[in-house]
Amino acid sequence: MNFLSFLGENLETFLTYTGFANMTVGHGVMLLVGVVFIYLAIAKEFEPMLLIPIGFGILIGNIPFKDAGLQLGIYEEGSVLNILYQGVTQGWYPPLIFLGIGAMTDFSALISNPKLMLIGAAAQFGIFGAYTLALLWGFEPNQAGAIGIIGGADGPTAIFLSSKLAPSLMGAVAISAYSYMALVPVIQPPLMRWLTTKKERVIRMKPPRVVSHTEKVIFPIVGLLLTCFLVPSGLPLLGMLFFGNLLKESGVTRRLAETARGPLIDTITILLGITVGASTQATQFLTINSLKIFGLGALSFVIATMAGVLFVKFFNLFLKKDNKINPLIGNAGVSAVPDSARISQVVGLEYDSTNYLLMHAMGPNVAGVIGSAVAAGILLGFLG
C-alpha cells in the first residue's frame, strides 16, 4: 500500500464518521425544529429562557454521527450528555427547579384572597381531559397519565411525571409542554374572549389586602402539611416548592433564598433545557406517537383554559356583587407562571385600560402550580 492510497482510505473512513454521511431526513426535520425554537425565543421572545436551551439542545442531539462506541450520544451510557441527562431520568432536576420557583414566588395574592385557589384546582381538568383523550387514542393508562400532565402547563412537573410513568415518551411530553407554554399568548386569548361577555371582562376586583409576615411564613408550612398528607407522592415537588418559599418568607435565610432563586435555578434550567432538547434524537423522537402527543398537548391547554374561565363564571353565581371575580383571570389557573397571568392582564386592559388584573391573576396562577403538582402526585400514586 503506498502512502497516497493509505491517505485516501483514511480520508474515506473519516468521511463515514461525519454528520453529512450519517444524515437522515429525520435529523433534518429535528434540526429545523431546533432552529424554529431558537427563532421563536429570539425574534418573538416566547419563553426564551427555556426555548434557547431546548432549541440548542435539539441541535446538539440531532447532529448525526456513526455509532462507533465513542460515547457521544445522550443515550450512550457514560457519555457527558448521558451523565447530565441523569438529572432528568432520575427526576432530580424538576424538584430543584421547584425549589427555585418557591424561593421566587410571592403567594400574597393567594393568601389575601384564598378563594382564588379553587380556580387553580378547576384548571387541572386539562390534565384529565387529555388523559381521557389519550386513552381513546390507544395509549396505555400510564402513558396517558404522562401525556395528560402537559395540561398542567408546568414543564418540571411534566418531566418529573413522565420520567416516572413513561420514560420513552418523556422527550415528546417535555417538548410539547414547553412549546405550548411558550404559545400561551397565542392559545389563550381567543378562548378567553369567546367564553366571556363584555360585561364580565370589565369586572373590577377588590384590591388585595396587605398580608402579614406571619401569614406568609405559615403558608409554606401549612401548604406542605395539608397537600402532602393528602398526596404524599407529590412530596418531591411540593416539598421543594414550599421549602423554597419558606426560605424566601422567613426573612432570615436571605442568602439561601437568593441562591435558590438565582444561581441554582439558572444552572438547573440550563442543564434541564439542554438535555431535554438533546434527548429528542430523531431516531427516538420522530414517531407517530410524538405527533399524537403534540395534538393531545394542544387540546389539554385548550381544556385547561376553558375549565378555568368557565369555573370563574360558575363561581360568580354564588358570590356577592362586590366580590365577583373577573373571569379573565380563569386562564391563569393553568400554571405557566407568569405568562398566563400576564395574558389576563393584557386581555383585561384591552377592555378597560385602568383595570389591572395581574395581581389577581397571580393567585390562580400559583395555585395552578400547587394544583398541577398535586395532580401529578395522584397520577403517580395510581399509575406508578
Binding site: 385557589m117 393528602l230 395510581f382
Partner: protein, 316 residues
C-alpha cells in the same frame, strides 16, 4: 451556651434519624427451602437447605453483625461476619444463606442445618443479640424442592389484610395466607413474578375511558385546595381582626375607622409613598432613586480590574 445545646440536640436528632434510615428492622425472612433434593446449588455445587432474607426498605441495609439462629434459646447462634461487601443488601433485594453447618465456606454458610422431619424455627436477631427482627416457624412435613415463603416479598399480615380489603379479586387469585408453598422456588429473586403492572391492568379493565380517574383525581385536587382555602380564610380573618385591634390601640380610633385603614391595599401605600417622593423634597439623599426593582451589583473575579493582569497603566 443555650444555642450550643440546641444545636447539639438538633445534631443528635439528625444523627438518630440517619441511623434509623439504615436500620435492620426492614429485613424479612422471605423464603425457606428445607429439603433441597434436586434444586438450587451453592458455589461448591452442593444442595443444602437455604434461607432467603429480603430488604424491604428503600435504602441499602448491611446485615453484617446480625445473628441468624434456629434455636430460640440461643439467639446469637450464627453471627453474620463483618467486612464482607456482599452483606450490604440493596433496596428490595435478597440474600441467601445456606443452612449447611459449614461456616468455613463463607459468610453465607451458617453453622446449623434445618431438620427435614420436624418444624424449624428460624429467626433473625439484631446486632445486640436480643432484638428480634423477624422469625418464622416452618411447619413439619415439608416436601422436597418446594419452598415455604411469603406470598409477596417482605409482606406482613397487615399488608395482606389491606390488600384483601382493597382488592376483591385478590383472594380468589392468590388465597388469603401470608406464608405459602412455592412449587417453583425463587431463590434470590421475587416470590411473586410479575408479568404485568397490576395497577395499570386494573385501570385498563375498570376505567377504560378515564372517567373514574378524572372524578377521583379532581376530587382530591379540589379537596386539597379547599382545605388550604378554608385554613387561610380563617388565618386571614384572624390576621385582619388582630390588625384592627393593633390599629385601635395605637391610634385610639374606633373599630370602623380601623377597618378602613386595614382594608387599604399595599399598592395605595406605594402610590402615596411615590407621591410624597415626587411632590416634596423632604429626603436626606438627593441621588436616591425610589424603585421597586432590586439593586444588583454583579461582581466576578473575571470582570474585576483588581484581578486582571492587563490593568490599564495609570499615567502620572
Amino acid at each position: 451556651m443555650k444555642q450550643k445545646i440546641i444545636f447539639g440536640l438538633l445534631l443528635f436528632v439528625c444523627t438518630l434519624s440517619g441511623v434509623w434510615a439504615q436500620r435492620t428492622t426492614f429485613l424479612k425472612i422471605n423464603e425457606v427451602l428445607v429439603i433441597n433434593k434436586d434444586n438450587f446449588q451453592d458455589d461448591y455445587g452442593n444442595k443444602f437447605p437455604w434461607i432467603e432474607i429480603y430488604n424491604a426498605s428503600p435504602g441499602t441495609v448491611d446485615i453484617a453483625g446480625c445473628f441468624i439462629t434456629n434455636d430460640i434459646n440461643n439467639p446469637r447462634r450464627y453471627p453474620i461476619p463483618k467486612g464482607d461487601v456482599l452483606t450490604k443488601i440493596k433496596p428490595r433485594q435478597h440474600v441467601l444463606f445456606w443452612a449447611d453447618n459449614m461456616p468455613t465456606r463463607g459468610t453465607f454458610h451458617v453453622n446449623f442445618t434445618l431438620d427435614p422431619d420436624q418444624s424449624n424455627y428460624i429467626a433473625l436477631f439484631d446486632s445486640d443479640g436480643h432484638t428480634l427482627i423477624d422469625s418464622v416457624t416452618v411447619p413439619a412435613g415439608q416436601r422436597p424442592d418446594i419452598s415455604y415463603g411469603l406470598l409477596e416479598d417482605g409482606w406482613s399480615q397487615k399488608r395482606l389484610e389491606e390488600k384483601l380489603r382493597l382488592n376483591s379479586t385478590y383472594k380468589e387469585k392468590n388465597g388469603s395466607e401470608l406464608w405459602v408453598y412455592f412449587e417453583q422456588v425463587t431463590p434470590s429473586s421475587n416470590n411473586k413474578i410479575l408479568d404485568t403492572n397490576e395497577r395499570i391492568e386494573k385501570f385498563k379493565k375498570n376505567d377504560e375511558r378515564g372517567v373514574g380517574m378524572t372524578i377521583t383525581a379532581m376530587a382530591v385536587v379540589f379537596i386539597g385546595l379547599i382545605l388550604l382555602f378554608l385554613f387561610f380564610k380563617l388565618i386571614g380573618n384572624i390576621a385582619v381582626s388582630l390588625s384592627h385591634e393593633r390599629a385601635m390601640k395605637a391610634s385610639g380610633i374606633s373599630k370602623e375607622e380601623a377597618k378602613g385603614i386595614i382594608q387599604t391595599s399595599g399598592d395605595i401605600y406605594a402610590a402615596i409613598a411615590m407621591a410624597i417622593y415626587e411632590a416634596t423634597e423632604l429626603h436626606d439623599e438627593e441621588n436616591t432613586i425610589l424603585t421597586i426593582k432590586n439593586t444588583a451589583r454583579s461582581y466576578s473575579p473575571w470582570n474585576s480590574k483588581i484581578y486582571t493582569l492587563r490593568e490599564t497603566p495609570i499615567k502620572k
